[in-house]
Every structure is written in structure tokens, then in C-alpha cells.
């Protein structure tokens, strides 16, 4: 008996994100079906085409990234205002830890896409990154950094961390990778503080 669409749709999407993120658009619907333990026919019944499945995967990742940004903002409010260094470090770290490698890779695939140039998808992928840059840039006001400079500083940190996430060796970061990220963040804060 075919299972309910409402149950398998999110599961297919999750597996599609993992595989598209890892191997790019070249992944076959057959692989996705095997990974999600559904039939290939179910995928076509629910999503019509591989292209549409990919677009929905992008949309899903974009929405999740937006929700995560909400959590980042909530977290900032809970962190002690008296210790700006800790506040920035934990905000950035929280964002970095929440972003999964597969999601980061999908966002990057979209940003990389030159042809066909899909402005809507690109804007969707850009939005969460632009927001974290704006947040980190805003937090630097505590160090009385000029706005334009703060935005540049934030971009350096966010793009470098984003690239590290994309290149992370496995879906879960290793202890070494974690330490490196922490060192990058703290070193950056020391820099903007001075």
C-alpha cells in the first residue's frame, strides 16, 4: 500500500538535500529513492520532475536557514549584554553549528550557478547569509567600529566560516575542525576589538 504523501514528502526532501548537497544536481532520482526507502515512482508522483525536486530542496534549505536566523536572534537576546566578546563569539558559533554541511553546500551550489541564472533562487540563498553578516556587523557597534568597516569585517568572518562548512570533511565536524573554527572566531574578535 503506498504510504501517505504527507509522511514521505518531507523524508524524500531531507534525503534529496543530503544527496544534492554532497554530489550536486547529477544525483539520480533512483539514488534518492533508495536513500529515502521509497520507490522512484513515488518521487515522480509527488515532485513530477527531478528539476522540481531540486528547486524544492533549495526552497526548503532557504526556509530552514531563515528560521535558524530567528533562533540566532533569540539567542543574542539571552546572552549577557555586559560581555560583548562572548556575545559575538556565541552568536557566530551558534549560527555555524546550526548550519548543516548539506544545507551549506546547496546554498553554495545556488550561489555558484551562472547558467541558467535564476535570480529568485540566488536571492533566496543569499538572504540568510546577508542576514548573519548584518547581525555580526551590528554587534560590532559595541566596539565603536564604523558601520562600513564593521560590515566588511563581518563579511570576512562569515564567508570564511561558510567556506569551511562547505569543505568540512564529513557531515559532523571533527574535534580538530571545531577547535580551528573556535580559534578563527576568537582571533577575529581580538582583531576587531583592538
Amino acid at each position: 500500500m503506498p504510504r501517505k504523501t504527507s509522511v514521505i514528502e518531507p523524508r524524500i526532501l531531507e534525503h534529496a538535500i543530503l544527496l544534492f548537497g554532497d554530489q550536486g544536481y547529477g544525483v539520480s532520482t533512483r539514488d534518492i529513492a533508495a536513500s529515502a526507502s521509497v520507490t522512484e515512482a513515488s518521487i515522480y508522483r509527488i515532485f513530477d520532475t527531478k528539476e522540481r525536486l531540486y528547486q524544492l530542496a533549495i526552497k526548503n534549505v532557504g526556509e530552514r536557514a531563515q528560521q535558524q536566523m530567528g533562533q540566532v536572534l533569540l539567542r543574542i537576546a539571552q546572552l549577557p549584554q555586559s560581555n560583548p566578546k562572548k556575545q559575538i563569539a556565541e552568536t557566530v558559533r551558534g549560527w555555524y553549528d546550526m548550519l548543516s554541511r548539506a544545507d551549506a553546500r546547496i546554498l553554495q551550489q545556488v550561489l555558484k550557478q551562472a547558467t541558467p541564472y535564476d535570480k529568485k533562487a540566488r536571492d533566496l540563498a543569499w538572504a540568510p547569509l546577508g542576514q548573519i553578516i548584518a547581525i555580526v556587523s551590528g554587534l560590532q557597534n559595541k566596539y565603536k567600529t564604523k558601520t562600513a568597516k564593521a560590515a566588511l569585517n563581518a563579511q570576512l568572518l562569515v564567508w570564511a566560516l561558510f567556506q569551511h562548512k562547505v569543505l568540512q570533511a564529513s557531515p559532523q565536524p571533527t574535534k580538530e575542525e571545531n577547535q580551528k573554527i573556535q580559534a578563527l572566531i576568537e582571533n577575529w574578535i581580538d582583531l576587531v576589538q583592538s
Partner: protein
């Protein structure tokens, strides 16, 4: 009459890097490479045996080119009259970025995205292309900051911020040729970073 190996090998590699960089190993056929390079598929198999080997040779060739560019860059720097260290730092990074073809950056990224299980040698080649420029930038930085005691890791952490950011921008560059707008924003990032790490 089949063309000479010494002539067509670099041409094939050039086109293979461009195509693999754009679409990945799976997204390109040897037929695509043959058409782009204007040779027969037979010549590709004669020279490279398999698509897998062609991909490996492409990564190695991109890495060799990256090494050559860095060498040239260092010679250029040392042959010019000394500038202020901050300027030198910015010039070095921008020269590296501008000479780095997008296809090469993308092919390195593909390799770095794969875990080490399959081929560690390939990964080392791709890592080398990035770690060398980090080391060079960290070296110049160390010279600038000589009077201040800086813990040894922090110079390379600082250099990594800009190198990874530039690498990201190169990989996501909209077209193979850098647009004026992109070029401006990259220059702003570099000079912002230099101001941050080596305030004048």
C-alpha cells in the same frame, strides 16, 4: 593524421579543467572534452586511458599551474621596489585572486569536498594550492608585526579569513571572467582586511 601528443595534451587538459570545474566529474563525458578541445575521443583514451585518470591529471595540472603562478608572483614581488608592507600584502592577495582561474578554483573545491577515503594525494594537491597563499600572507603579516609578540597560530588564522573569503568569491564568481562590480567588492574586502590586521 593524428596530431602530436606534446601539442594536444595541454590543450585537452585545459578544456578538461574548464569543463570539470563547471560541471564536476560526473557531469562531463570524454566526448564533451573531445569536442571542446577539437580532438577525437580516441586521442583522449590513448593519452589518458580513462575518464577517471583524465580527472586526476586535470587536478594535478591545475595544482601545478597554481604553484607556477605563486612562484611567478613571488618573483614579481621581490623584483619590485619595496612598498609599504600593508600595500604589499594587499597587492599579493589581489594578484593571487586575479590570476586564479575560476575553473581551477572549482575543481579544487570539488576535490576538497570529497572526503579523503578515495584519494588523499589529490586532496593534498588541492589543499596545497590554498595553504601556500595562507602561508605567504601570514609571512608578510609576521614581518609587519615583528615588534609585537603575536602567538604563532594567529597570523595564519588571520590570513585564513581573507584566503577562504576570496576562495569563496572565486568559486561563486558569476562568469569565468570577473565583472567590474565583483572586482570592486573583492578589492574592498582585501583592503578592509589589511586595515584590520595591519592598521596604518
Amino acid at each position: 593524421m593524428p596530431k602530436r601528443i606534446s601539442t594536444i595534451k595541454p590543450i585537452i587538459l585545459d578544456h578538461a579543467i574548464a569543463l570539470f570545474g563547471d560541471r564536476g566529474e560526473e557531469g562531463v563525458t570524454t566526448r564533451n572534452v573531445a569536442v571542446a578541445a577539437g580532438v577525437t575521443e580516441g586521442s583522449i583514451y590513448r593519452l589518458f586511458k580513462s575518464k577517471k585518470n583524465l580527472y586526476h591529471c586535470s587536478v594535478s595540472d591545475a595544482s601545478r599551474r597554481a604553484g607556477e603562478r605563486l612562484g611567478q608572483m613571488l618573483r614579481d614581488i621581490s623584483s619590485r621596489p619595496p612598498t609599504i608592507p600593508g600595500q604589499q600584502l594587499a597587492d599579493t592577495l589581489l594578484a593571487w585572486f586575479h590570476a586564479f582561474p575560476r575553473a581551477d578554483a572549482r575543481i579544487f573545491q570539488q576535490v576538497l569536498m570529497k572526503s579523503c577515503i578515495n584519494d588523499c594525494k589529490l586532496r593534498q594537491q588541492a589543499e596545497g594550492a590554498l595553504s601556500e597563499i595562507v602561508a605567504i600572507a601570514a609571512g608578510i603579516l609576521k614581518a609587519i608585526e615583528a615588534p609585537i609578540e603575536l602567538d604563532p597560530g594567529s597570523g595564519s588564522h588571520r590570513a585564513e579569513l581573507i584566503v577562504m573569503t576570496l576562495f569563496h568569491h572565486k568559486v561563486t564568481q558569476a562568469a569565468a571572467q570577473l565583472s567590474a562590480e565583483e572586482s570592486e567588492s573583492v578589492s574592498a574586502l582585501v583592503s578592509g582586511w589589511v586595515d584590520l590586521v595591519a592598521p596604518r
